[in-house]
Subunit: 150 residues, 2 copies
DNA sequence: CAAATTTCAGCTTAACTGACATCC
DNA sequence: CGGATGTCAGTTTAGCTGAAATTT
């Protein structure tokens, strides 16, 4: 057990692992997002999904599930709720009968825009005092490590 | 709605937001951690908590909850399960009767060590081809943005 | 047939809110 | 007393597994 402690010391004076540091940041973001969305009728998870769908038209639930590392069932659950709230709609793919393509609705877009200002503020708060280079590097690092785990 | 799309374009050709990029990475890490822990009897969440407790002796549940941005009740739930599995124990603080200090047990430490190799491999995979500088910068960025949201 | 997408059903876990006792 | 800690009870949500229908 002394070894575990020594290992931790060697790897940076008790600095949390990359794995934990990522989780911790995600939890903090979720907490702040939920504050921001108080009373809006959408959850932090739904809002995050909407920001993705706002720039990604006509994608299948299965593809979204793969991108997000959740099961198709979990994604279907979320989409069903969002469809009921008319934040998204799903239409059969004309060129592939079994697929249903997901799109954001005008109402979904309105939700995103209503909170866009606050969301940008949140990101700005996270990256206050960083250079544009640093922000760019952080973006790149998050994306690159995500891709490495696919 | 054309504005939302234009905004997205301007901010980087449909690049996901920092908020989503972080969540997506966290989900990917969790999925890989759970593969790694198959059959070990601990969840990804418990394992991550154990790695923290391995380098942080004698802390209260309330403090852990604050650090992790979860409610005290959620933390209590998790600790109760881990105590039952004898991964941690809790003893009254001699200098403060109401507090119960959490410590990792030898068994908890053994779990961490059993998977330390695989966890390091996971982190290495995330940061393959990065310079030590880049890894350090990523660590710093995760911690700094977490701190900015507290 | 094999593979992929979607859906249904049932379940477990992780979180929440609210209330309350306890202790400095 | 006020503030923090811890716990109990009940609920909700998010995720899972397993199984089946459908289509390419």
């Amino acid at each position: 057990m002394a070894e575990a402690k020594a290992e931790a010391e060697r790897s940076g004076r008790g600095r949390p692992t990359l794995l934990y540091a990522t989780k911790r940041l995600e939890l903090a973001i979720r907490a702040r997002l939920e504050e921001m969305l108080q009373g809006s009728g959408v959850t932090a998870l739904q809002y995050t999904a909407l920001t993705v769908l706002a720039v990604r038209e006509g994608v299948t639930a299965a593809q979204l599930a793969r991108d997000s590392f959740v099961t198709p069932q979990a994604m279907a659950d979320m989409l069903r709720v969002m469809e009921r709230s008319e934040l998204i709609d799903r239409r059969p793919n004309p060129t592939n009968g079994r697929e249903r393509l997901v799109s954001i609705t005008d109402r979904g877009r309105a939700v995103v825009e209503t909170h866009a200002q606050a969301a940008r503020e949140l990101e700005r708060r996270m990256t206050a005092d960083w250079s544009p280079r640093d922000v760019e590097a952080f973006h790149g690092a998050l994306e690159s490590s995500w891709r490495a785990l696919r």
